[in-house]
Each structure stands twice: as C-alpha cells, then as structure tokens.
C-alpha cells in the first residue's frame, strides 16, 4: 500500500445536525476516523446511522455542523469529496439485469476510466472478490453475499480515501455474512479506511478497530471493542452445577477469573462477567477440574446490543421490544426521552435508502 499517511483524519465530523420535518435524525453527531482504520458505527434501527452516512457522502444536505473527508469540506466541495469516497448503501445498488462485469464496466467508465482500462480494472476486481467465474452471469441470479461483494467491488474502482459500508451484512445468511466480512478485512488490510454501520455488536467486534455507539442521532460512547466491552462488563460465562455444588463452584469460578460470581438457585447456575470470555474459559475449566467439581453445562455469551444500550443509556435498546427488566424508566444519562420517539425515522421524501425498512431490505437481499 503506497498511500502516503495524510496529516488529517480520513473523516472528521463535528456537531452534525439534521432534521426531517419533526424528527431529528442527527443531533450533535461527532466522529473522527483515523486514516487506515476500520471504524464501526453501532446503533439500533433509527439511531441515525444511515443519515450520518448519507450526509458524509454528500447525498443529503446537513442542517448544521462541519464534516470533512480526507481534509475536504463536505458542504464546500461535494464534487471533490465524491472523488474520494466509495459508498455501499443498504441496498444492493447493482443492476440486476446486467452481468457482474457489465456492472463493473459501467461504474468504472463513469469513474472516468477509458474502455480498455475499465475492462482491466473490472477483471482485477472480479478476481479480488472471487467473482471471476460468475462474471458473465446476470446479477439477478446471484446470492446475497455475491451481490454484496459486487457492490463493494463497484465502490473500489478508484481506491477511495474512505469506504462507507451501510449495514453491509443486513439480510445475508451466515455464509454470505462470512464472505462479506472476509472481503471487508481484505480491503482494510490494504490500507483503505472503512466506516461501517451495523446493528450487530459481533460484527463491530469482528471488523472494527474502533467503535462509536450511536443513539438518538449522536455518539454516546466511543472506543476499541475491548474498551467498550470492559465498560459493559464484558462477556458472560455461565456454568450449571448440581444443587449442592453451587456455592463452592461460585467461589472457585470467581477466584479463577478474579471477578465476582452471581448464583441463580432456580437455574442452578453460576455466572461471571469477564472482559475476554474466550481467554477466561480455560482457567475456569482448570480450576473446576482441580477442585473436582462437575460442571453440567458451560456457556460463553457476549453482551447483546440490548445489554449495551442498557449499560450506556439505562434504557432498553429500541431495536425490538424486550422483556421488562425492572423499574428502568425512560430517563437515562442522555436525558429524558419518550420511548415512542426513539423509533423516529427520517421523513420519507429524503430518499428511500435513507429510510430503509430493515424487513424490506431483508426481502431484497434474498
């Protein structure tokens, strides 16, 4: 990778605000993405992730705030910004009727390449994204993962200073998701800066160097995935034991990972929270074994997005209704909010991609 390290961040946004009619999509959004890193923007549906991406990629005008891509102001010089970005939106924005190669040729030629160069570039990208065998087939017959890879390839005709991926794996099956993750890792390994939005904690954990957690149109927490997990109490390891062993098991497990264990006498289980679950498993097993304790079931669980939001805002994630978890009011650290407004979406005329119904895009993807 020969890109010289620039003195400015790949992306810097300060105080972005955007309203659609009565709903506020961005409300003081700040973000800084260092060149050469993968940054995850994590948040529930309706948090403003897509609006943020659309404003940063010049598709939607900002009401307030300043944003710069590769040092270039988004509002002052949108044309220059468009030369430096790649955008993979929530939809598979490739032409269904055309072949993979025809799609890449079209985007390459629109990016200013001559016909022979566009052909060479298309072939390179087809190979990079494992699409050479399918190059002459119509995209309508592609799997979701293949379409997404073609979509990503189409955004990389000119190496962008920053590649935006808006929920790149929404609607994909696990296999499609794995191939897209692999593609993102390879793009990132070559030094392309990536900003990816996701609703999945695991996805951010897998791909991102840093993560910003977003809610109500602003970033409410930022850090490396490990930082965030530490703040959230990290992973949960739960073991089930015979009823007479419970208290002794709790003491042994707690000592093994130097943490506090909680005992659930109804479920006959002992749970500890640890920063790195996979690293803690072995010491726990060894300690239990040394003590002669028989564990009936041992499970490792990462905090869910709901738990992230419970920790960060004191309110359940608005992704979907969850079981009431006690007297948790709608008032969290971010101030008083009406739960009904948490789902506020940008008004419709802003563009269909900006208000994509996740269920609809699920259908599209299959």
């Amino acid at each position: 990778m020969s890109r010289p390290v620039p003195s400015h961040p790949a992306l810097e946004a300060v105080g972005l605000r955007k309203r659609f009619g009565k709903s506020t999509a961005l409300d003081g959004f700040d973000l800084r993405v260092a060149a050469g890193t993968v940054h995850g923007l994590l948040g529930p549906n309706g948090a403003g992730k897509t609006t943020a991406v659309r404003c940063l990629t010049t598709l939607t005008d900002l009401d307030e705030g300043t944003a710069a891509i590769d040092g270039i102001d988004v509002r002052r010089d949108p044309a220059a910004v468009r030369e430096r970005i790649g955008l993979v939106g929530q939809f598979h924005a490739v032409d269904e009727a055309l072949t993979a190669r025809q799609n890449l040729m079209l985007f390459a030629r629109l990016s200013g390449l001559s016909k022979p160069r566009a052909r060479t570039r298309a072939d390179q990208l087809l190979e990079s994204f494992a699409l050479t065998d399918a190059a002459s087939r119509a995209v309508s017959g592609f799997s979701g993962g293949m379409r997404r890879r073609l979509d990503i390839a189409s955004s990389l005709v000119l190496t962008p200073a920053i590649l935006f991926l808006d929920e790149p794996t929404t609607g994909l099956d696990p296999r499609g998701r794995a191939t897209v993750w692999q593609a993102v890792r390879e793009v990132a390994a070559l030094g392309t800066t990536v900003l990816l939005t996701t609703q999945l904690l695991d996805e951010a954990d897998q791909l991102a160097d840093r993560v910003s957690v977003m809610d109500h149109g602003r970033v409410i927490a930022e850090g490396t995935p490990t930082d965030l997990k530490r703040r959230l109490g990290g992973d949960r390891i739960t073991g089930r034991f015979a009823v007479g062993d419970l208290d002794r098991a709790a003491a042994v497990v707690a000592a093994a990972v130097d943490s506090e264990a909680s005992v659930d006498r109804d479920a006959l289980s002992v749970t500890v929270e640890v920063v790195d679950g996979s690293a803690a498993l072995a010491p726990i097993v060894r300690a239990l074994d040394a003590d002669g304790l028989l564990v009936e079931d041992l499970s490792l669980r990462r905090p869910t997005l709901d738990e992230v939001f419970l920790h960060l805002t004191g309110a359940p994630s608005p992704v979907e209704p969850i079981e009431p978890t006690g007297p948790t009011g709608p008032t969290g650290p971010t101030g008083p909010t009406e739960p009904a407004e948490r789902r506020a979406e940008p008004a419709l005329p802003a563009g269909p991609a900006g208000v994509a119904d996740p269920a609809a895009s699920d259908l599209e993807a299959r």
């Binding site: 939607t60 005008d61 955008l87 939106g89 939809f91 924005a93 009727a97 200013g112 991609a353």
Partner: protein
C-alpha cells in the same frame, strides 16, 4: 477468497477523463440499451401492445368510425397512434426513474464523481431511443396494414421530428414525476393521468364528432396538436375541417412541447437537487 494486493488498490492516475455530462449521460443510457439486449421481452411486449392497439381500433372499431372531411380511418388512426405512443412513453420514464431511486442505483450514481445532470440525461437519451424504435416499428406495422404517407421526404421528416419533440418534452415530466413521487402508488397515479389525456384527444376520433365543450378540450390537448400536425405532414386525413387548428396544427405541435419543456426541465433540476434534503 484470494486477494492480491495490487488488484483491490487502484493504480495511481487511473482516471483518464474529467467529468463530462454528455459522456456520462451516454454511459448511463447505455445501461438501458444493454437491458434491451439482455432482456428483450420487455421491449418486445411493449411494441406488441402498440400493434395490438392499432389492430383493435383499426379493424374492430374502425368500421363504425367516420372521419369528418372524409378519408380512410386507418390513414387517420395511424398518426394518432404515433402521438399516443409518445404519450405512453411517459409511464416508462417515470417507472424507470422511480425504480432506480428505490433500488439505490440513483444514490450510487449520485455518490460518484459525475455531473449532476448525467442521471437525468441518461434517462432522457435511453427513453428517446426507445421511443424512436417504437415509432419505427409502428410505422412499419402501419405500412403493412395500408397506411401510406403521401407527402415528400421533408414533410415526413418534420412529422417524425414533431412526434419525437413531444416525447422529448414528456421526458422531463416523467423524470420529474419519477424523482418526486416514489413508491408503488406513483405508477398508478401516472396511469390515471395518462389514459384520460390519451383518450381525450383526437387520436381515435375527430373532435368534430364530440359535443362542443368536449371538442374544445380535446382539440387543445397537446397530444391532439401533435396528432393533427403529423396527419397533415404525412398527407393523411386530419378530421379537422375548420377553426384555428385546421390552419395551425404544426405551430401548436411545436409550441406545446416547448411549453412543457420550459415548465418541467427546471422542475426536474429542482427535484434532483431536493433529493439532498
């Protein structure tokens, strides 16, 4: 997946050209031409629909319709059908625009370093080509069932030009509607608009056979103006024996599309800008 570093990263200085709306519009239009080649059935059924209408009206109803001022009904009908086809093209323009917006393809174009005019320009070029092809097929079909232009090449060429001029004007209306109203209801709304405009015209029957007030509306319909001008220029019966339109159909067929263009071209540009709101 195996990846070689050199292939994901574009070589430096890959761009050969600066942004140029005409080139980009042509490339975007080329996408539609590829659609015709790859999925020709949509195109074939579109053309078959026009031919079916000619056969239905020409032979099923034609015998019962008399053309004021005399003349063969098939000769009267065909230029009207040409004009109607230009009007019906509106639906395709709007649907294609709305579909691209819905699928995120418009957004992808908008995120590329291309001229902001090229998306609309591409749609316009593709649809004009499509309509020119439809017109050619209809003319050949017409010749097969006995329609004959009886004037010289200059008049015939002007007649064809006026037909495409109407289509050109309606492009901007279609692109404007496609950019402004999305969702499934929009296409239905355009059909509701297009069919009365198509039938409240002199495409199928002369305005002189209608009650007075209806005749006035029908005569002043832009589609009627183009149909009457085309009949005149092809040397076919016009069904117009008196009044301003009898003398000035070519003027009306030139002016109406100009008015439509002057209204909707700026509105199209505004609607495109408003995508950013």
């Amino acid at each position: 997946m195996t990846t070689t570093p050199s292939s994901i990263t574009a070589p430096a200085g890959l761009r050969d050209r600066r942004s140029n709306a005409l080139r980009e519009g042509w490339l975007i239009a080329g996408r539609d031409l590829l659609h015709w080649v790859r999925e020709p059935w949509g195109l074939v059924f579109g053309l078959a629909f026009n031919i079916m209408l000619i056969l239905l009206f020409g032979f099923l109803f034609g015998g019962a319709i008399e053309v004021p001022g005399g003349g063969d009904y098939i000769a009267f009908l065909l230029p009207g059908m040409f004009a109607l086809t230009m009007l019906f093209g509106l639906e395709g323009t709007m649907t294609a625009m709305a579909e691209d917006a819905k699928r995120g393809i418009t957004d992808r174009f908008r995120s590329l370093p291309i001229s902001s005019a090229s998306v609309a320009l591409g749609r316009a070029l593709a649809d004009l080509a499509n309509s020119a092809l439809s017109l050619a097929v209809l003319m050949v079909g017409g010749l097969l069932i006995g329609w004959r232009p009886t004037t010289g090449p200059a008049e015939i060429a002007l007649g064809i030009a006026l037909l495409l001029w109407l289509r050109f004007a309606l492009l901007w209306l279609g692109i404007f509607l496609g950019l402004s109203f999305r969702g499934t209801g929009a296409t239905t709304a355009v059909q509701v608009l297009v069919w009365p405009v198509g039938f409240l015209s002199t495409v199928f029957v002369s305005a002189e056979t209608m009650p007075g007030w209806l005749g006035v509306i029908t005569t002043w319909n832009p589609v009627s103006a183009t149909a009457t001008a085309a009949r005149e220029l092809f040397g076919n019966p016009t069904g117009v024996t008196s009044g301003w339109m009898a003398e000035n159909a070519v003027l009306a067929a030139s002016a109406w599309p100009l008015v439509i263009t002057l209204v909707f071209l700026p509105l199209t540009a505004t609607a495109y800008r408003h995508l950013r709101r």
